[in-house]
């Protein structure tokens, strides 16, 4: 199920820890980065590599909100809507994504280009509103700015 590179990477991470299960979160990150999401098969396979019961892995993987359990679009927009961003207009941005791209929170555009997840605080309150596109960080967002930024992600 997991490709060899991923397995090697997981085993490398394992060596940083005193016990195998401690490397579970980083291992799930490796898999998610590679495949975009954590399919049930991938979850099971991570369990097998680390010798952690697969149901335990599932319990852990679903606890954390940054792991994805369904396929994502090519680019993941993580938009903060917590208080500081909210009072600085984050809700409007959510509306724009809806009107301009047909993108609702927790969904993917029909062309598979974007997925949107609304976030709790991402620590950018001074320059709110803010978002992550994949792992790139953007702040001081306005209606125009968000449109310009997203143009760079095809």
């Amino acid at each position: 199920m997991l490709n060899e590179r991923v397995v090697i990477e997981i085993n490398r991470i394992k060596s940083k820890y005193h016990d195998a299960q401690s490397s579970l979160l980083p291992a799930l990150y490796v898999v998610q980065r590679e495949y975009g999401w954590l399919s049930p098969d991938a979850v099971a396979a991570v369990g097998d590599v680390l010798n952690v019961p697969r149901t335990t892995v599932k319990g852990v993987a679903t606890f954390y909100s940054m792991f994805r359990h369904k396929p994502m679009g090519r680019h993941l927009i993580q938009l903060c809507t917590n208080v500081a961003c909210m009072i600085m207009g984050a809700e409007r941005l959510v509306d724009i994504l809806k009107t301009r791209y047909g993108l609702e929170p927790n969904s993917t555009t029909d062309d598979g280009r974007f997925s949107l997840v609304v976030m709790e605080c991402i620590g950018a309150c001074a320059t709110a509103p803010a978002m992550l596109v994949d792992t790139d960080f953007y702040d001081n967002l306005t209606e125009e700015r968000i449109a310009d930024i997203l143009e760079n992600y095809k």
């Binding site: 940083k16 005193h18 016990d19 195998a20 299960q21 401690s22 490397s23 579970l24 979160l25 980083p26 799930l28 990150y29 680390l50 952690v52 335990t56 319990g59 852990v60 606890f63 954390y64 909100s65 940054m66 792991f67 993580q78 809507t81 917590n82 208080v83 500081a84 909210m86 009072i87 600085m88 976030m119 709790e120 605080c121 991402i122 620590g123 950018a124 309150c125 001074a126 320059t127 709110a128 992550l132 792992t135 960080f137």
Partner: protein, 419 residues
Amino acid sequence: MEKFLLKNIENPNSADIAEYIKTGGYKALSKALELKPSDIIDEVKRSGLRGRGGAGFPTGMKWAFAAADSKKPKFILCNADEGEPGTFKDRPILEKNPHLLIEGMIISGYALQAEYGYIYLRGEYPEAKDILEDAIKQAHDKGYLGDDVLGKGIRFYLHVHQGAGAYICGEETALIESLEGRRGQPRIKPPFPVNEGFLSKPTVVNNVETLANIPYIMEIGAEAYSKLGSPDCPGPKLYSVSGHVKMPGVYELPMGTTLREIIYTHCGGIRDGKKLKAVIPGGISTPILPPEKIDCPMDFVSMPKHGSMLGSGAVIVFDETVDLVKVCLRAMKFFEHESCGKCTPCREGVGWLRAIIERIYNGSGTEKDIDLLLEVSKNITGKTFCPLGDGAAGVVQGFIKDFRHEFEQHISKQVKAAA
């Protein structure tokens, strides 16, 4: 005041080890390694440093507990989960001054005789991960980390461990569970982490800012350090200010600076000539304060006397245009989303609070709902497993205490509309 924690961050290369060393970095480490580990702990004790993660626990005392436990190995964990909404004070250290943190961790590792340190970094800071890992590598190459720190025969290894989106993992025992690859649910205390923490071994969990203060204490000495800031809570403090001020951002100020000074002196006051309506002083888990109370000093001891808490020192400022019921609702959605689900009152009760606030906000609430909110929150208070649930209840109580009229307005608007 001279900046220490945020020294040099305007320098675009501040994260580079050469720049750090150029401005005196890693000198504190050399100094510390000349001391006995127990002397460092005494020094930290005498400095009066209190943990900056929110609870304000005396750091030296925590270290002494862990040092006294004979189990091996020991671990030092840096809490870089910074999940409290409104908080972004650790971020400049992590991204702009990573060596300060690393230096603090090496010193603490030596003091505790811990050979392993982990930085538990929130998943929402992917850039910080790369920066920290580069910095660790640099420190390693320079001999500050690894098998033989500065040729002193001491071993210290440091790793970054990324969280994955769970506010509760900022709570130290949940953080440890998470680091062990489990669901991030808090543990029963006692045993405390200092005795049975990561992998059941003695473990110190300290906030980023706390650890970043360590080199400073080494540098200027406990004596001098203890004279900074408030008498009970010495040292510099990072305040992260957001919302409707002219100059939001992270400010390094003496501990105990008043909210008024922070908002008006340092952040330039309320923007667009609006009036101040309310302030959340320490992240959204801390009760909201009305403008009359902004003269209180922002430290661990003074804030509770004024009906709130210092928390993480995250100040969110609201001007007169803000609908506080909406803010309260958003806060409650946050707590509902972040409840780990372990204990009954938080898992079930916080969602209920959110539901009541939501119907008030949507205009279908009744007069009785405010009392119901108070009752439900009272039923949560003091009964939860960890402070998260308590915090949520306290937030609701705080909003109603000083801003009950806003809730009533929502309700009566609806009543009018119906009539």
